[in-house]
């Protein structure tokens, strides 16, 4: 009856609250929202922390592996050293010492094995009641647990370790109390044998450590992976932008250069088979024409060039150069001009110029023999090269191959002799000049350059100028084509 009343009482309380509601204040939901936001942030933090911990664990693991590897490597080296030491035959003085040594570790091993004084042994013999009870509790709650070892002191050294100890320190029993020399020697030899036997039983066999990491691949968080991809993409875009800037910065699309070149020339295909002189003069004029045509000399040029880039690798360069070919030859004739009123007799060096402008009678009257003297023939051209270049290397250091043609407009040549009494004469291009007004040459060269600023580049230009035609007029019957090898130095200013 009473129980029924009680149930009625409880039921009435329960019913009293059925359907009842109380409004919480608005701040509750606000706080819940805040808590949820915090939880979301905390989740991210936890993930970050997890990855940080993972990274730290990886480092520790790698260090541990390294440490183990180093330790085993060190042990191997140490053991090899011991073995080497043992391989060396012990001297007679040390033999007795060696005899006694093997006993020591063995004894130690036995002491360890038989020791009853070790504190651990005491613990094993009389386990604390608290420990026992806790073990029982653990058994009761969590199922089977490892019971404390009931072994006696002899089991303190684990079996594998004990066997290793036996391997390392085999117990050669040598009775030192033996008095006879034979017996002692026999004991010594057996000890030595036992030492050598150690080589047979390796102290350490290298084991291959394999880590099965495939089963424990960390799962990549998709959000972090996405962030990583975005970051990578951003970096790529950044790199592209920087690359463009760099390309714009490094671009050499239009430039100008000033420079000079120096070299030498050798005359190719020189022939003077038909000197266009009078019948009286050939004997005298031929050597002069021949020497002048075959003369070698120096080449100098200076000028301005403009270059532009056609494509990534191809460039086009052109410009205007003032080219001088200076040659020397030995003459033994001079040209003697007829003196005018009260004027001193004038002498000029013999050259093709004089021979060209003179008729046979005049030439025979003009040319006189003289002592040999050195004549300098300086020929000046206005060279307009046009070259295509291929950029082999286009960095701070540049390497470029050039090839093209040059139109060399003959300006004039000057004949000067080393004697003060012989006047210097100049002959411009024209009908009086034996030289062609326009010459065509092929140009081949390389350009080794160094960029030393945003807009400057300096270059060395070794090159060959190959003449396509003879420099003399065809009607003269003299042929000479100077092949020039020179090295130029140019300073380039880069516009953009």
């Amino acid at each position: 009856m009473k129980n029924m009343e009680r149930e009625k009482f409880e039921e009435s309380w329960k019913k009293a609250f059925d359907g009842a509601e109380v409004n919480p204040s608005d701040k509750v939901w606000t706080n819940i929202e805040l808590d949820l936001e915090k939880a979301k942030g905390g989740d991210l933090k936890r993930r970050l922390l997890f990855y940080q911990m993972l990274a730290a664990a990886s480092v520790v693991f790698a260090m541990a592996i390294g440490g183990i590897g180093y330790y085993y490597g060190f042990r191997t080296n140490q053991i090899s050293g011991d073995r080497l030491a043992l391989e060396n035959a012990p001297s007679n003085e040390n033999r007795e010492q060696i005899q006694t040594e093997p006993n020591l570790p063995h004894k130690d091993g036995r002491e360890l094995a038989n020791s009853d004084d070790a504190p651990a042994n005491t613990t094993n013999d009389s386990p604390a009641p608290e420990a026992e009870s806790s073990a029982k509790k653990q058994q009761g709650r969590k199922g089977p647990t490892v019971a404390p070892s009931q072994n006696d002191g002899n089991d303190l050294v684990p079996a594998p370790l004990a066997s290793n100890t036996a391997d390392i320190f085999p117990p050669p029993r040598i009775d030192l109390s033996t008095n006879t020399a034979d017996a002692r020697n026999e004991a010594l030899s057996s000890a030595n044998f036992s030492l050598k036997q150690r080589e047979v039983s390796p102290l350490y066999t290298p084991r291959e450590i394999r880590l099965n990491l495939e089963d424990h691949k960390p799962q990549v968080d998709p959000v972090l992976a996405m962030l990583a991809r975005l970051e990578k993409r951003e970096m790529e875009v950044q790199d592209t932008k920087e690359g463009r800037k760099e390309a714009e910065k490094d671009g050499e699309n239009l430039w100008t250069s000033v420079g000079f070149a120096a070299g030498s020339f050798n005359t190719m295909q020189a022939s003077t088979s038909h000197p266009a002189t009078s019948s009286y003069a050939p004997a005298m004029a031929a050597p002069i024409v021949d020497q002048e045509a075959k003369a070698t000399g120096y080449s100098y040029s200076m000028g301005v060039n403009v270059g532009t880039r056609l494509s990534d690798r191809w460039v086009l360069q052109g410009g205007v150069n003032y080219l001088t070919h200076a040659s020397e030859y030995i003459a033994n004739n001079i040209v003697m001009d007829a003196p005018s009123n009260y004027q001193q007799q004038k002498f000029r060096a013999a050259s093709t110029n004089e021979l060209m402008s003179a008729d046979a009678q005049e030439l025979s009257s003009k040319l006189v023999y003289s002592a040999p003297y050195s004549v300098n023939n300086s020929m000046r051209y206005l060279s307009i090269p046009m070259m295509a270049g291929y950029l082999l290397v286009n960095k701070t250091f540049g390497l470029q191959l050039n090839a093209g043609v040059a139109t060399d407009l003959f300006l004039q040549n000057t004949i000067s002799a080393e004697s003060d009494q012989i006047e210097k004469t100049s002959q411009p291009a024209g009908s009086d000049s034996p030289y062609r007004a326009v010459n065509l040459s092929g140009l081949i060269g390389t350009e080794i350059s160094y960029r030393f600023g945003e807009r400057y580049r300096v270059s060395l230009n070794p090159g060959i100028r190959y003449p396509f035609n003879t420099i003399y007029k065809s009607e003269l019957g003299v042929q000479a084509a100077p092949l020039t090898l020179d090295v130029g130095l140019r300073f380039r200013y880069i516009f953009n």
Binding site: R6, A16, N31
Partner: protein
Amino acid sequence: MLSEQELIEGCRKGDRAFQQALYQRYCRKMMLVCLRYSKTTAEAEDILQEAFVKVFNALKDFRQESKLETWITRIMVNTALNTQRKKLYLYPMVDVEKIDVPEDEVSVSGIHFMQLLDMIQSLPQGCQIVFNLFAIEGYNHKEIAELLGISEGTSKSQYARARSLLQAKLLKESSYYEKYGEGKV
């Protein structure tokens, strides 16, 4: 109006609108639960807040073996018990040797639930919890003992004391009604 399933799915996706809808649907009932286990409204609101955060976080694990309301109520009660546990350590429950139970059973009918709530809140800490668990949540004393880490006897005695105190309060209240009518409520 969103169905319970829709609410659950929305909350599982972390949609704040669905979470708010779920909160709005159950917060008033749950506030009462929290008030029964606490002494003040502020304390009840703290429990409510903490419990709802747990609800949203644990909703993905909700297997729907029970009604959502029942599941949320369980979380509310557990959260309340967790918060009250510290107080239980401070004021440990002891077995009551002698309980004076009024002879006449006083009915709670006709008394507003807020008054009843006041009565419950006025109970000593241990009595309040045990009474709530036994009389309203429907736990038996063994379960209560396990939940609170007390003996079954302690639970029984605490409940008996709570009942006695409530009877006395109800008696007092009913005599007041008899005298002044229901105008008080």
